[in-house]
């Protein structure tokens, strides 16, 4: 009996936990942080590495990774300098900051 009561009482807790863990939609003009799962993350990193080798490897050897905010500046500079596409820039930045 006590077990049943405990389980019944726990259901709302479980539902609230699932709700709390679910990805939330961004609101208004807040920065759009896209939440992706680990499979998507691995795929994006792989694609980012591919774009990195295709775009950056055209001119120079792969540099070590820099801190994320430095990398954001470098990738913006390279977008202009090497006329890489917007999508390639995003994927390269993702790869270089993971």
């Amino acid at each position: 009996m006590k077990t049943k009561i405990a389980i019944l009482a726990g259901i709302p807790i479980l539902v609230s936990g699932l709700w709390a863990g679910a990805p939330k939609k961004s609101e208004g003009n807040a920065p759009t942080a896209v939440v992706i799962n680990s499979d998507d993350s691995a795929a994006m990193r792989l694609e980012g590495e591919k774009r990195f080798r295709a775009n950056c490897g055209r001119c120079h050897a792969a540099p070590h990774k820099f801190p994320p905010r430095m990398m954001a500046t470098i990738v913006r500079h390279m977008r202009v300098r090497a006329t890489i596409t917007d999508q390639d820039m995003r994927l390269v930045l993702y790869y270089m900051t993971q």
Binding site: T3, I36, H64, Y94
Partner: protein, 360 residues
């Protein structure tokens, strides 16, 4: 047995509650562990660039060239970038036992403001590298170039322009990206900001899968002579092998010529892999054919040969660590006179944030 079952019954509610709390905690934390944000980190201003020290033995003359080339990058908001590059370099030579003498020079290569309007267009204003071919904009930094000696035709295509430029790159299909740059420049006779009045354009197409880029450039001078210059460029990194090929052709009133260069990393060699993967062999063939007019020697860093010339180059690079490279090369100058040129030295690329850069 009876006692044990009663004990289990007493423990069951606590275990159930414990399991439920764990279940509550688990879905709450798992997304925190696996979630990754692809939003941009806020960029910070950085000071980067390269420094080097090279020695050239050229037809009996030894020249020492120390150089520092700082690049300042200042991002503003989400769409702006202010960028600038200067060159400080020395040229100290000694002919046949004489003491070294020379001077230190400085150039302002670019000082530009970039506005990323959308995914197809970036607007640049100020002083910028003239977009003609690929060497001037992409391969020139000493930590990038595979051979320290620039190609013979480099003075035809190099230089900076003061004006406005539109440029960008975008996919035209899943297998190809188009890139372009078009500009208008005004005349400036100031020694530091020297620029010719003219306009020009460059366009290229990059094929993703074979990593092959083809492009063409054109420039029109809006001076009294109204000269035209035309160029072609090529880059290819065949994916299965660590080989990088680049080539350019340029033609103007000052002459024409081409260069083709291949750089091969020895990373596929199994023995001594730690050493081999840092080692790179380079070969280049180039020719220059003099034109109807002579390019005025402004006393700058580079000048065209005085007559028809061809030059094979061979080089060896060793990457000591990220951004630090030791180089040696040999070239045979085959023109009106023939001689050997040896170059050796070291190049270093540096980068440092000017504000807290976060992470790592």
């Amino acid at each position: 047995m009876q006692h044990q079952s009663k004990s289990e019954v007493r423990r069951a509610p606590r275990l159930a509650l414990y399991a439920l709390v764990c279940l509550w905690f688990f879905p709450s934390t798992v997304p925190l562990l696996v979630a990754q944000t692809v939003d941009y980190e806020r960029p910070v201003p950085i000071l980067t660039g390269n420094a080097g020290y090279f020695t050239t033995e050229d037809n009996g003359t030894t020249e020492l060239v120390p150089e520092v080339i700082p690049v300042l990058l200042v991002p503003l908001g989400d769409r702006w970038l202010i960028e600038s590059r200067a060159e400080f370099y020395g040229g100290f030579d000694s002919a046949k036992g004489q003491p070294y003498s020379g001077k230190i020079s400085k150039d302002l290569d670019y000082l530009q403001a970039d506005y990323i309007a959308n995914r197809y267009l970036t607007v640049t204003a100020g002083r910028f590298l003239t977009p003609f071919g690929i060497y001037n904009e992409r391969l020139y930094p000493i930590w990038i170039r595979d051979l320290n000696q620039v190609p013979l035709i480099f003075p035809i295509e190099s230089g900076s322009s003061d004006g406005v430029m539109l440029r960008g790159g975008f996919p035209v299909s899943s297998w190809a990206n188009l890139n372009y740059a078009t500009y208008f420049s005004s005349e400036n006779t100031n020694a530091t900001l020297e620029s010719d009045r003219g306009f020009g354009t460059r366009a290229g197409i990059f094929f993703n899968r074979p990593r092959l880029e083809l492009g063409t450039s054109w420039r029109k001078e809006l001076t009294d002579e109204r000269h035209n210059a035309f160029g072609l460029h090529f880059a290819w990194q065949p994916p299965p092998i660590p080989l990088s090929l680049h080539a350019e052709y340029a033609r103007s009133e000052y002459g024409s010529g081409y260069w083709i260069e291949g750089a091969y990393r020895l990373s596929q060699i199994q023995g001594w892999n730690q050493f081999m993967r840092r080692t790179e062999f380079v070969g280049r063939m180039q020719q220059y054919f003099s034109g109807a007019e002579k390019l005025a020697d402004s006393g700058g860093k580079y000048s065209l040969p005085h007559g028809d010339t061809q030059q094979p180059d061979f080089g060896l690079n060793y990457y000591l660590k990220d951004g630090l490279k030791a180089s040696a090369s040999y070239a045979r100058w085959l023109g009106h006179h023939n001689w050997n040129t040896w170059t050796y030295g070291i190049a270093w690329r540096f980068a440092m944030p000017l504000r807290h850069a976060g992470g790592q």
